[in-house]
């Protein structure tokens, strides 16, 4: 009788353990899937486009002179400028994806998404910027 009870308790314990493991796995799977879905939603996908322009195109337009520190603090801009310079086509340009927050920050620091956006200058090269919404 005692032995039968013990066996039943062991079976219940094993089932409970398996149940807990399955529950943990299910929560992990559902939660990670939900987070992956939600983090993909960050408003409209946006792109920062930079194009190399000649000094003669500036025509007294405002110019922001960028420093190495600026590029370190704005990796999206750094990446766009780097890609534009390595583009063999003429005119040299590049588009890089960015998030809504990055667009806001670049707008407030370099005016990229404003009417009559200023030109940017880095290392003697001038750039025109545009923001593309998809």
């Amino acid at each position: 009788m005692e032995s039968g009870n013990n066996k039943r308790m062991i079976a219940v314990g094993a089932l409970a353990f398996i149940g807990v493991v399955i529950l943990v796995a299910a929560v992990v799977l559902v939660y990670t899937a939900l987070v992956a879905l939600i983090t993909g939603i960050d408003g409209l996908p946006q792109e920062l486009t930079v194009e190399v322009v000649g000094e003669e195109d500036l025509q007294n337009a405002p110019v922001i002179h960028l420093t190495d520190r600026d590029l370190k603090q704005h990796p999206v801009l750094a990446s766009a400028i780097r890609e534009a310079n390595s583009n063999p086509n003429m005119p040299k340009y590049a588009s890089v994806p960015m998030t809504g927050v990055e667009c806001l920050v670049l707008t407030e620091s370099c005016g990229v998404y404003t009417k009559g956006a200023p030109y940017l200058e880095y290392d003697g090269v001038y750039y025109a910027t545009r923001v593309l919404l998809h």
Partner: protein
């Protein structure tokens, strides 16, 4: 007959105990699942090579927003915030007060965990999505973080 009925209350206690144990185990399993999933997600992001950033914007006036006074504890808890507001990462943009009454005063690279911690501490209200304004030495700041 009475002798047979005696074990019943004991069995009932056992059944109730078993159900309670199962419920408790279920709650612990769900909590453990969330913690494990959270740790996995963070680990995956940290290994992705992405570069989350902390940016601090200064506002001329706080407007109607909630104002939170920054203390030394905030700076100790969040060294990146300290570096941007009063340290080596302070680098006000050349586009001074550009198109509105706010300007970016600097940014710093942070880990994903720190990006989330900053968002939780100084991010927008979950219902109204209005950012609190942080006041330090008479200036008002807004903290935004990226999660690339």
């Amino acid at each position: 007959m009475e002798e047979d009925r005696k074990p019943e209350p004991g069995n009932q206690f056992k059944t109730v105990g078993l159900i309670l144990a199962c419920v408790l185990a279920g709650i612990v399993a769900v909590a453990l699942g969330f913690m494990l999933a959270d740790a996995l997600i963070l680990y995956a992001y940290e290994s992705s090579g992405g570069q989350p950033m902390l940016y601090v914007m200064e506002r001329v006036e706080p407007g109607e927003n909630v104002v939170v006074r920054l203390t030394e504890k905030d700076f100790v808890d969040h060294p990146a915030l300290d570096a941007v507001i009063r340290g080596e990462e302070r680098n006000p943009s050349a586009w001074e007060w550009g198109s509105s009454d706010r300007r970016v005063i600097g940014g710093a690279q942070v880990s994903y965990a720190e990006s989330r911690a900053l968002q939780d501490a100084y991010g927008p209200d979950r219902e109204t999505w209005v950012y609190p304004h942080l006041e330090y030495e008479g200036a008002y700041y807004m903290v935004v973080t990226t999660w690339p």
